[in-house]
Amino acid sequence: MDVTRLDFSQIHPLLLNGSVSCSRIVRDYLKNVNEGFPLNAFISILAEDAQIRAQKIDAKIRQKRAGKLAGLVVAVKDNILVKGIKTTCSSKMLADFVAPYNATVIDCLLKEDAILIGKTNMDEFAMGSSNENSFFGAVKNPIDHTKVPGGSSGGSAAAVASRQAMAALGSDTGGSIRQPAAFCGLVGLKPTYGSVSRYGLIAYASSFDQIGPIARSVEDCAKIFSVIAGHDSRDSTSSTHRYPAQFFSDIAPVSSLKIGVPKQFFSNDIEPDVKRNIESSVEKLRQKGAQIISVSLPHADYSVPAYYIIATAEASSNLARFDGVGYGFRSDEAKDIGNFYAKNRSQGFGEEVKRRILLGTFVLSRGYYERYYRKAQTIRSLIRRDFSAAFQKCDFLITPTSPTTAFPIAARSYDPLAMYLSDVFTVAANLTGLPALSIPCGQDRDGLPVGLQLMAPRFAEPFLFSVAKAVEKFCPSGEIENG
């Protein structure tokens, strides 16, 4: 039995009845990690820690005191702090930074006996849609090594898809969980803003960032989410909403659903294979009795520009702390204080990060604030209003996750604008704070997975999971050979 082929939900009963041990699972995953080296999915591998922890958890299982996630082998994006472990954000700036404390989500996972197997590669400071902007090199898509895994949580998605981890945590600022999940054939959730604590997540854009799970099944995704969601007094934007204890007690029967299809999201340049798969999924839902409603999101076209203005503005400020004074990269060439900042930052940050810092500094500067930042905020509220209106008519929305499937490595790296447009369907959820989930719904002619995005009102994650389960049933994701 290759235990790494089983989902957490499948393996958990086996663990509890003693047919398999955590140690065995960890050993098998570590073997995949060693073999998966060419994908470049990991920055740090916690082999020893994971093995020691597995033994302890095996003991706890025998004593019947194991937590809810006992045996879950999880990879963590390298912008989430794990105490005593390097947390690099895939940047030269933080290449040697060892986290002095745990992110809240890490505490949540450890409390329920999950096992951390490593920190995953990513686009530097979570800025990118292809995982090519990493100080530690690009990550390869496990399904086709000439393709990108998607970004910025590409390392997390590649690790899960290639069975180097059972599941992973990513962070999603403009689609960074959903798009790589779609490119790698996985389930990825961008939770409602405020439902998962951001404490210990190295911020890219505070009002958009949200940590979420990437897994091979909807149920695994939901289990992880139920553990990491909840109020955290250390994060002021953390919500006090309480999710029902049992996420699947009320699976909505498909026949009762009203599905909104936003027409704006289908008029863009979508690859025919993507469009075909989405439409076929919608049709399958319709056949099962769901009602399909065309809805309009009139300001959707402005999502990408509004997102890039606000997100880069926040990023320019959030990244100001990386100045080489207290920690991080420090150039030895500086001559005076101004030069000190300039050298540390120009040598410590990569090109894409610098591009976004400059863009953000520009849109906030005097004289341009009104023309760009203020307008983008106005658009943000108009888009929020569009979505509220849409949810008056339907229960949830269906869109493609990305207009394309995984594209070739280096295809867009010299065209930032084309790269930014990869996020056209995903950024709206971050602008509005709404939960959104990407689930595989078929393949293109080259066998690359197509992702379907479901969006719902705030805190409707349980509902998203139950709909996704229905999609999962008629669209089983293809098996991937270990990369």
């Binding site: 934007t237 400020s317 990244l319 906030l364 604030y369």
Partner: protein, 483 residues
């Protein structure tokens, strides 16, 4: 007013930063003790470590509301925090969290005295912000090329109080700061100590010809760490600007530092090259909502404010306005006066004692940990009231009390300072004195009446000042008249 003075109009605005005496910092739970070893009062939040998030201190908000209510400000139902972005080595996040276009309090006033008349100075705004750290250089223990950084002060809560430019002279500015200090201390929200930096003050000053329609350029003076420095710096700057106007030169707006040692200003930077702070609302904090209930609660707990206390003292204790002002300058002083009055049942004696004798020892006494001297003073004044001690003797005992920390009774016994009010004994002493001064007696009887005082002097000398003056006078006159 001199003819030369009439030709100019002075306009001064103040920006004061009061350090709040909360137990913990503005956005984390680190302690705020003064003088702790460098970098010992820090955590991920105030160090600006990656992933750390601010959580607002409720006590600091209540302090801001208290001051706002005391200054009759409008308290914002919803105010927001903003980021003020700039690079400086002692600013770990690269931005300071402050309030910008929606501060917590707006449009109030503080009453000052100008040439004996009351005058209202408008308060533009009061807002909350965090302090930055401290850079240490030019100290003997710091290598000449190095700068050391102490981040203990990072995140200490400050209230910034901004006046409208309505102050017309250095005297008014000094009176304003004193009254602000008094208010902060009455509300018990800040120690408001200029020398220790718990109250910091910047002054904006502009001198114009009396008939000018618009304000000319202004100078912002920083580094004013005492009331004397404030007064001197303003006088210096007024003279400098007058000279410029007189010689027809143009004043440029500038920020200057006051050098109290050399009694001069030195230019910091010109306004033209000032930072563009790129303010925008802090995405890590939700808008601060202040409920009517909270305001009501704080209102009900407001201590008696200086003006109300003065009014009550005038009415209740029949004091002069000048005395009432002195006695209400600080809450401990006012409390002590009231306590003593209650103990001895004589407000006029208590007030006379406080103003003439107590104030010179006030700082010494109030700083003592054990406050037994309060009871001693009451005891001492009771003796004075019951004519057991002369004022002069009481004064002597009091000065001894402060130094030796003994009770008045001990000192009195030791020094034989009981007032002589035994009529028979006094008469005996007086008769002896007259016997010994036959020549003076003869002259007195011959009509040289002022010699009466010579006898009084002799009595006081013989009794070591202990003779009850009224009784001694009465007996002396009776004896002399009978001769």
């Amino acid at each position: 007013m001199a003819e030369r003075e009439k030709k100019y109009r002075v306009t001064i605005g103040l920006e004061a930063h009061a350090q709040l005496n909360t137990k913990s910092k503005l956005f984390c739970s680190c302690p705020t003790k003064f003088g702790a070893p460098p970098n010992t009062q820090t955590c991920p939040v105030c160090l600006g470590l990656p992933g750390a998030l601010p959580v607002l201190n409720k006590k600091a908000v209540e302090s801001a509301i208290k001051l706002g209510l005391a200054m009759k400000c409008r308290i914002a139902k919803e105010s927001i925090f903003a980021r003020k972005n700039y690079f400086y080595p002692d600013l770990p996040k690269g931005y300071q969290i402050t309030q910008f276009d929606r501060p917590i309090c707006e449009s109030g006033f503080l009453e000052i005295k100008s040439n004996g008349k009351k005058k209202k100075i408008s308060i533009g705004r009061i807002h909350l912000e965090e302090d930055a750290g401290k850079s240490i250089h030019n100290e003997p223990f710091v290598p000449s090329e190095a700068t050391l950084i102490d981040l203990n002060r990072c995140g200490i809560p400050l209230l910034e109080i901004v006046t409208e430019p309505e102050l017309r002279s250095p005297d008014e500015a000094v009176d304003f700061v004193q009254r602000l200090q008094q208010m902060l201390r009455f509300l018990q929200i800040s120690n408001a100590n200029l020398e220790q930096g718990s109250l910091r003050c910047d002054a904006n000053i502009s001198v114009n010809t009396a008939n000018a329609r618009e304000l000319s350029a202004k100078t912002e003076i920083k580094n004013l760490n005492s009331l004397k420095a404030l007064a001197r710096a303003l006088v210096h700057e007024i003279e400098r600007q007058k000279k410029l106007i007189f010689s027809g030169k143009v004043l440029n707006s500038a920020t200057v530092l006051w050098d109290d040692k050399n009694q001069t200003t030195r230019t910091m930077r010109s306004k033209e090259t000032a930072h563009d702070y790129r303010y925008f609302s802090e995405p890590d904090l939700l808008p601060l909502k202040i409920s009517a209930d909270l305001i009501k609660k704080i209102e009900s707990q407001m201590p008696e404010l200086p003006s109300a206390k003065i009014a009550r003292f005038l009415q209740e204790y029949q004091l002069t306005e000048a005395d009432a002002e002195i006695l209400t300058l600080t809450p401990p002083r006012a409390d002590l006066f009231e306590w003593i009055t209650k103990q001895i049942g004589d407000a006029s004696l208590a007030s006379k004692w406080m103003i003439q004798e107590f104030l010179r020892y006030e700082n010494n006494l109030f700083s003592q940990k054990k406050r037994t001297w309060e009871i001693d003073i009451a005891e001492l004044l009771t003796l004075v009231k019951n004519q057991k001690l002369s004022w002069r003797a009481a004064k002597e005992i009091f000065s001894e009390m402060v130094v030796a920390k003994k009770s008045p009774h001990e000192i009195m016994k030791q020094k034989q300072l009981f007032q002589l009010s035994d009529e028979a004994k006094l008469e005996e002493i007086i008769r002896r004195i007259i016997d010994e001064n036959q020549e003076a007696l003869a002259q007195y009887r011959a009509g040289k009446k002022p010699l009466f005082h010579y006898f009084v002097g002799q009595i006081m000398q013989k009794t070591g000042g202990r003779a009850d003056p009224k009784m001694a006078n009465k007996i002396l006159r009776a004896i002399l008249d009978s001769m």
